[in-house]
Symmetry: C2
Subunit: 184 residues, 2 copies
Protein backbone atom coordinates (compact mmCIF):
# COMPACT_ATOMS: atom_id res chain seq x y z
CA UNK A 1 0.00 0.00 0.00
CA UNK A 2 1.33 3.41 -0.99
CA UNK A 3 1.72 5.90 1.79
CA UNK A 4 0.20 9.33 1.55
CA UNK A 5 2.93 11.97 1.45
CA UNK A 6 1.66 15.32 2.66
CA UNK A 7 4.85 17.21 1.96
CA UNK A 8 7.58 14.69 2.74
CA UNK A 9 9.93 17.25 4.08
CA UNK A 10 13.57 16.50 4.74
CA UNK A 11 16.44 18.36 6.34
CA UNK A 12 16.97 20.87 3.52
CA UNK A 13 13.31 21.60 2.83
CA UNK A 14 12.99 24.38 5.42
CA UNK A 15 16.29 26.00 4.43
CA UNK A 16 15.26 26.18 0.78
CA UNK A 17 11.76 27.44 1.52
CA UNK A 18 13.06 29.86 4.13
CA UNK A 19 15.78 31.37 1.97
CA UNK A 20 13.40 31.72 -0.96
CA UNK A 21 10.97 33.50 1.37
CA UNK A 22 13.58 36.23 1.71
CA UNK A 23 14.45 36.51 -2.00
CA UNK A 24 14.35 34.51 -5.25
CA UNK A 25 17.57 32.63 -5.79
CA UNK A 26 19.36 29.98 -7.86
CA UNK A 27 20.55 26.73 -6.33
CA UNK A 28 24.09 28.00 -6.45
CA UNK A 29 23.13 31.17 -4.59
CA UNK A 30 21.26 29.19 -1.97
CA UNK A 31 24.41 27.24 -1.25
CA UNK A 32 26.44 30.47 -0.99
CA UNK A 33 23.99 32.07 1.40
CA UNK A 34 23.77 28.94 3.55
CA UNK A 35 27.55 28.89 3.85
CA UNK A 36 27.56 32.47 5.07
CA UNK A 37 24.58 32.29 7.38
CA UNK A 38 22.90 29.10 8.62
CA UNK A 39 25.92 26.85 8.10
CA UNK A 40 26.89 27.10 11.74
CA UNK A 41 23.63 25.65 12.99
CA UNK A 42 22.16 24.04 9.86
CA UNK A 43 24.35 22.95 6.96
CA UNK A 44 23.33 21.97 3.43
CA UNK A 45 25.27 20.68 0.42
CA UNK A 46 24.76 20.70 -3.35
CA UNK A 47 23.94 17.01 -3.22
CA UNK A 48 20.87 17.90 -1.20
CA UNK A 49 19.94 21.30 -2.60
CA UNK A 50 19.60 20.55 -6.31
CA UNK A 51 17.45 17.42 -5.99
CA UNK A 52 15.35 19.22 -3.40
CA UNK A 53 14.73 22.17 -5.72
CA UNK A 54 13.31 19.84 -8.35
CA UNK A 55 11.23 18.01 -5.79
CA UNK A 56 9.78 21.21 -4.33
CA UNK A 57 9.00 22.54 -7.78
CA UNK A 58 7.18 19.33 -8.69
CA UNK A 59 5.22 19.69 -5.43
CA UNK A 60 4.27 23.26 -6.36
CA UNK A 61 5.94 24.86 -3.36
CA UNK A 62 8.46 26.79 -5.43
CA UNK A 63 8.47 27.96 -9.04
CA UNK A 64 11.56 28.08 -11.23
CA UNK A 65 12.21 30.11 -14.32
CA UNK A 66 15.14 30.04 -16.71
CA UNK A 67 17.14 33.24 -16.50
CA UNK A 68 20.30 32.51 -18.49
CA UNK A 69 23.30 34.84 -18.30
CA UNK A 70 24.44 34.90 -21.88
CA UNK A 71 24.93 31.29 -22.87
CA UNK A 72 25.19 30.11 -19.29
CA UNK A 73 22.05 28.43 -18.11
CA UNK A 74 20.62 29.63 -14.87
CA UNK A 75 17.42 28.78 -13.04
CA UNK A 76 15.91 31.17 -10.55
CA UNK A 77 13.44 29.90 -7.97
CA UNK A 78 10.80 31.79 -6.04
CA UNK A 79 8.40 30.75 -3.31
CA UNK A 80 4.78 30.09 -4.29
CA UNK A 81 1.86 30.86 -1.93
CA UNK A 82 1.64 27.12 -1.22
CA UNK A 83 5.33 27.17 -0.40
CA UNK A 84 4.90 30.06 2.01
CA UNK A 85 2.10 28.16 3.66
CA UNK A 86 4.34 25.09 4.00
CA UNK A 87 7.07 27.25 5.51
CA UNK A 88 4.69 28.67 8.09
CA UNK A 89 3.44 25.21 8.97
CA UNK A 90 7.01 24.13 9.56
CA UNK A 91 7.59 27.23 11.70
CA UNK A 92 4.63 26.19 13.84
CA UNK A 93 5.87 22.60 14.12
CA UNK A 94 6.15 20.95 17.49
CA UNK A 95 9.06 18.52 17.25
CA UNK A 96 12.45 20.14 17.12
CA UNK A 97 15.73 18.34 16.50
CA UNK A 98 18.78 19.70 18.26
CA UNK A 99 22.04 17.84 17.86
CA UNK A 100 25.52 18.82 18.88
CA UNK A 101 28.84 17.21 18.04
CA UNK A 102 31.52 19.06 19.95
CA UNK A 103 34.89 17.35 20.06
CA UNK A 104 36.29 20.10 22.25
CA UNK A 105 33.80 19.27 25.00
CA UNK A 106 34.50 15.57 24.56
CA UNK A 107 38.22 16.18 25.07
CA UNK A 108 37.52 18.21 28.19
CA UNK A 109 35.29 15.42 29.45
CA UNK A 110 38.16 12.93 29.28
CA UNK A 111 40.93 15.30 30.32
CA UNK A 112 41.29 13.62 33.71
CA UNK A 113 43.28 10.91 31.91
CA UNK A 114 46.13 13.37 31.29
CA UNK A 115 48.19 15.84 33.35
CA UNK A 116 46.32 18.94 34.49
CA UNK A 117 48.22 21.23 32.13
CA UNK A 118 46.71 19.42 29.18
CA UNK A 119 43.22 20.08 30.47
CA UNK A 120 44.04 23.74 31.00
CA UNK A 121 45.39 23.85 27.47
CA UNK A 122 42.13 22.42 26.17
CA UNK A 123 40.19 25.15 27.95
CA UNK A 124 42.48 27.77 26.50
CA UNK A 125 42.11 26.32 22.99
CA UNK A 126 38.35 26.29 23.37
CA UNK A 127 38.42 29.91 24.45
CA UNK A 128 40.47 30.84 21.39
CA UNK A 129 37.95 29.02 19.20
CA UNK A 130 35.14 31.11 20.65
CA UNK A 131 37.14 34.29 20.17
CA UNK A 132 37.83 33.41 16.57
CA UNK A 133 34.15 32.77 15.80
CA UNK A 134 33.35 36.00 17.57
CA UNK A 135 35.59 37.89 15.17
CA UNK A 136 33.90 36.30 12.16
CA UNK A 137 30.39 37.06 13.38
CA UNK A 138 31.22 40.59 14.48
CA UNK A 139 32.57 41.46 11.06
CA UNK A 140 29.40 39.99 9.58
CA UNK A 141 27.30 42.17 11.85
CA UNK A 142 29.20 45.28 10.84
CA UNK A 143 28.48 44.73 7.17
CA UNK A 144 26.20 47.41 5.69
CA UNK A 145 22.62 46.58 4.78
CA UNK A 146 20.09 45.70 7.41
CA UNK A 147 18.73 42.21 7.78
CA UNK A 148 15.17 41.28 8.76
CA UNK A 149 14.82 41.38 12.53
CA UNK A 150 14.87 37.64 13.18
CA UNK A 151 17.83 37.08 10.91
CA UNK A 152 19.60 39.76 12.91
CA UNK A 153 18.38 38.16 16.14
CA UNK A 154 20.06 34.87 15.29
CA UNK A 155 23.27 36.67 14.41
CA UNK A 156 23.10 38.36 17.80
CA UNK A 157 22.58 34.94 19.34
CA UNK A 158 25.80 33.71 17.77
CA UNK A 159 27.75 36.68 19.02
CA UNK A 160 26.32 36.43 22.53
CA UNK A 161 26.95 32.69 22.60
CA UNK A 162 30.62 32.99 21.72
CA UNK A 163 31.07 35.86 24.14
CA UNK A 164 29.55 33.74 26.86
CA UNK A 165 31.59 30.70 25.87
CA UNK A 166 34.88 32.58 25.86
CA UNK A 167 34.11 34.12 29.24
CA UNK A 168 33.17 30.75 30.69
CA UNK A 169 36.48 29.22 29.59
CA UNK A 170 38.37 32.15 31.05
CA UNK A 171 36.60 31.86 34.39
CA UNK A 172 37.01 28.11 34.65
CA UNK A 173 40.70 28.38 33.86
CA UNK A 174 41.10 30.89 36.68
CA UNK A 175 39.06 28.67 38.96
CA UNK A 176 41.18 25.59 38.29
CA UNK A 177 44.42 27.53 38.54
CA UNK A 178 43.31 28.92 41.90
CA UNK A 179 42.40 25.45 43.15
CA UNK A 180 45.80 24.12 42.14
CA UNK A 181 47.65 26.85 44.06
CA UNK A 182 45.84 26.26 47.33
CA UNK A 183 46.43 22.50 46.98
CA UNK A 184 50.15 22.99 46.38
Amino acid sequence: MEEQRPAERNAVTPVVLGLLSLAPRTGYEIKQVVDRSTRNFWAASYGQIYPELRRLEAAGLIAGQDVPTGGRRRRLFRLTPAGRQALIEWLMGRETTIELRDESLLRLFFADAAPLELGLGLLEARQRGHEYQLGVLRSLAELPGNDPQFVELVLRWGIAFHEWGARWCQEERARIAAGTESAA
Copy 2:
Protein backbone atom coordinates in the same frame (compact mmCIF):
# COMPACT_ATOMS: atom_id res chain seq x y z
CA MET B 1 49.16 0.07 -2.72
CA GLU B 2 47.98 -0.52 0.82
CA GLU B 3 47.83 2.51 3.04
CA GLN B 4 49.50 2.57 6.42
CA ARG B 5 46.91 2.83 9.18
CA PRO B 6 48.41 4.27 12.34
CA ALA B 7 45.27 3.98 14.45
CA GLU B 8 42.44 4.62 11.99
CA ARG B 9 40.30 6.32 14.53
CA ASN B 10 36.67 7.09 13.91
CA ALA B 11 33.98 8.99 15.77
CA VAL B 12 33.46 6.43 18.55
CA THR B 13 37.13 5.64 19.15
CA PRO B 14 37.71 8.44 21.67
CA VAL B 15 34.46 7.77 23.52
CA VAL B 16 35.32 4.10 24.00
CA LEU B 17 38.90 4.78 25.01
CA GLY B 18 37.86 7.66 27.23
CA LEU B 19 35.12 5.79 29.07
CA LEU B 20 37.39 2.79 29.57
CA SER B 21 40.02 5.14 31.01
CA LEU B 22 37.56 5.86 33.83
CA ALA B 23 36.53 2.24 34.49
CA PRO B 24 36.39 -1.19 32.80
CA ARG B 25 33.04 -1.72 31.12
CA THR B 26 31.03 -3.93 28.76
CA GLY B 27 29.74 -2.63 25.43
CA TYR B 28 26.27 -2.46 26.89
CA GLU B 29 27.48 -0.38 29.81
CA ILE B 30 29.37 1.97 27.51
CA LYS B 31 26.16 2.66 25.66
CA GLN B 32 24.32 3.31 28.94
CA VAL B 33 26.96 5.72 30.19
CA VAL B 34 27.11 7.56 26.87
CA ASP B 35 23.34 8.04 26.96
CA ARG B 36 23.58 9.58 30.40
CA SER B 37 26.64 11.71 29.87
CA THR B 38 28.21 12.57 26.52
CA ARG B 39 25.06 11.99 24.45
CA ASN B 40 24.26 15.69 24.40
CA PHE B 41 27.50 16.63 22.71
CA TRP B 42 28.75 13.29 21.33
CA ALA B 43 26.36 10.42 20.63
CA ALA B 44 27.18 6.77 19.93
CA SER B 45 25.04 3.75 19.01
CA TYR B 46 25.39 -0.03 19.37
CA GLY B 47 26.02 -0.26 15.65
CA GLN B 48 29.22 1.68 16.20
CA ILE B 49 30.25 0.53 19.67
CA TYR B 50 30.37 -3.25 19.25
CA PRO B 51 32.37 -3.31 16.00
CA GLU B 52 34.68 -0.68 17.46
CA LEU B 53 35.35 -2.74 20.59
CA ARG B 54 36.52 -5.65 18.45
CA ARG B 55 38.61 -3.36 16.29
CA LEU B 56 40.30 -1.71 19.25
CA GLU B 57 40.99 -5.05 20.87
CA ALA B 58 42.60 -6.34 17.68
CA ALA B 59 44.72 -3.17 17.64
CA GLY B 60 45.80 -3.82 21.24
CA LEU B 61 44.35 -0.59 22.61
CA ILE B 62 41.86 -2.35 24.84
CA ALA B 63 41.74 -5.83 26.35
CA GLY B 64 38.56 -7.85 26.82
CA GLN B 65 37.86 -10.71 29.15
CA ASP B 66 34.81 -12.94 29.41
CA VAL B 67 32.98 -12.35 32.67
CA PRO B 68 29.68 -14.21 32.27
CA THR B 69 26.82 -13.66 34.72
CA GLY B 70 25.48 -17.15 35.15
CA GLY B 71 24.79 -18.43 31.65
CA ARG B 72 24.63 -14.94 30.19
CA ARG B 73 27.74 -14.08 28.26
CA ARG B 74 29.40 -10.82 29.08
CA ARG B 75 32.64 -9.28 27.95
CA LEU B 76 34.42 -6.66 30.03
CA PHE B 77 36.93 -4.33 28.42
CA ARG B 78 39.74 -2.39 29.99
CA LEU B 79 42.23 0.11 28.59
CA THR B 80 45.76 -1.10 27.86
CA PRO B 81 48.82 1.16 28.27
CA ALA B 82 48.87 1.53 24.46
CA GLY B 83 45.21 2.54 24.62
CA ARG B 84 45.92 5.16 27.26
CA GLN B 85 48.68 6.51 25.06
CA ALA B 86 46.30 6.67 22.09
CA LEU B 87 43.76 8.51 24.23
CA ILE B 88 46.33 11.08 25.29
CA GLU B 89 47.44 11.57 21.71
CA TRP B 90 43.84 12.25 20.75
CA LEU B 91 43.53 14.69 23.66
CA MET B 92 46.52 16.56 22.28
CA GLY B 93 45.11 16.59 18.75
CA ARG B 94 44.89 19.81 16.79
CA GLU B 95 41.85 19.46 14.53
CA THR B 96 38.55 19.68 16.32
CA THR B 97 35.17 19.06 14.75
CA ILE B 98 32.28 21.08 16.08
CA GLU B 99 28.90 20.68 14.41
CA LEU B 100 25.54 21.95 15.44
CA ARG B 101 22.10 21.13 14.06
CA ASP B 102 19.61 23.34 15.84
CA GLU B 103 16.17 23.45 14.29
CA SER B 104 15.02 25.95 16.88
CA LEU B 105 17.60 28.49 15.70
CA LEU B 106 16.68 27.74 12.09
CA ARG B 107 13.03 28.49 12.82
CA LEU B 108 13.97 31.75 14.52
CA PHE B 109 16.12 32.64 11.52
CA PHE B 110 13.13 32.39 9.19
CA ALA B 111 10.53 33.77 11.58
CA ASP B 112 10.24 37.01 9.60
CA ALA B 113 8.03 35.07 7.17
CA ALA B 114 5.28 34.82 9.81
CA PRO B 115 3.45 37.20 12.16
CA LEU B 116 5.52 38.52 15.04
CA GLU B 117 3.62 36.48 17.64
CA LEU B 118 4.91 33.30 16.03
CA GLY B 119 8.49 34.47 16.42
CA LEU B 120 7.87 35.37 20.05
CA GLY B 121 6.36 31.94 20.55
CA LEU B 122 9.49 30.36 19.10
CA LEU B 123 11.65 32.29 21.55
CA GLU B 124 9.42 31.19 24.40
CA ALA B 125 9.56 27.55 23.27
CA ARG B 126 13.31 27.75 23.04
CA GLN B 127 13.49 29.15 26.55
CA ARG B 128 11.35 26.29 27.85
CA GLY B 129 13.66 23.83 26.14
CA HIS B 130 16.64 25.32 27.94
CA GLU B 131 14.78 25.22 31.24
CA TYR B 132 13.88 21.59 30.74
CA GLN B 133 17.48 20.59 30.02
CA LEU B 134 18.53 22.62 33.01
CA GLY B 135 16.29 20.51 35.23
CA VAL B 136 17.75 17.29 33.85
CA LEU B 137 21.34 18.39 34.33
CA ARG B 138 20.76 19.85 37.78
CA SER B 139 19.29 16.60 39.05
CA LEU B 140 22.31 14.84 37.56
CA ALA B 141 24.62 17.20 39.42
CA GLU B 142 22.83 16.57 42.70
CA LEU B 143 23.36 12.82 42.45
CA PRO B 144 25.70 11.50 45.17
CA GLY B 145 29.19 10.30 44.27
CA ASN B 146 31.79 12.73 43.03
CA ASP B 147 33.00 12.70 39.45
CA PRO B 148 36.54 13.42 38.26
CA GLN B 149 37.07 17.15 37.99
CA PHE B 150 36.86 17.47 34.22
CA VAL B 151 33.76 15.30 34.02
CA GLU B 152 32.23 17.63 36.56
CA LEU B 153 33.51 20.64 34.63
CA VAL B 154 31.63 19.57 31.50
CA LEU B 155 28.48 19.04 33.52
CA ARG B 156 28.89 22.55 34.87
CA TRP B 157 29.29 23.74 31.30
CA GLY B 158 25.94 22.22 30.38
CA ILE B 159 24.22 23.84 33.31
CA ALA B 160 25.80 27.23 32.67
CA PHE B 161 24.97 27.00 28.97
CA HIS B 162 21.29 26.33 29.52
CA GLU B 163 21.10 29.02 32.17
CA TRP B 164 22.63 31.45 29.73
CA GLY B 165 20.39 30.30 26.89
CA ALA B 166 17.20 30.63 28.90
CA ARG B 167 18.22 34.09 30.09
CA TRP B 168 19.04 35.17 26.54
CA CYS B 169 15.61 34.10 25.29
CA GLN B 170 13.94 35.92 28.15
CA GLU B 171 15.85 39.12 27.47
CA GLU B 172 15.25 39.07 23.73
CA ARG B 173 11.56 38.49 24.25
CA ALA B 174 11.42 41.53 26.49
CA ARG B 175 13.44 43.50 23.98
CA ILE B 176 11.15 42.66 21.07
CA ALA B 177 8.02 43.26 23.12
CA ALA B 178 9.36 46.68 24.14
CA GLY B 179 10.14 47.54 20.54
CA THR B 180 6.62 46.60 19.46
CA GLU B 181 5.01 48.83 22.10
CA SER B 182 6.95 51.94 21.15
CA ALA B 183 6.16 51.31 17.48
CA ALA B 184 2.42 51.00 18.21
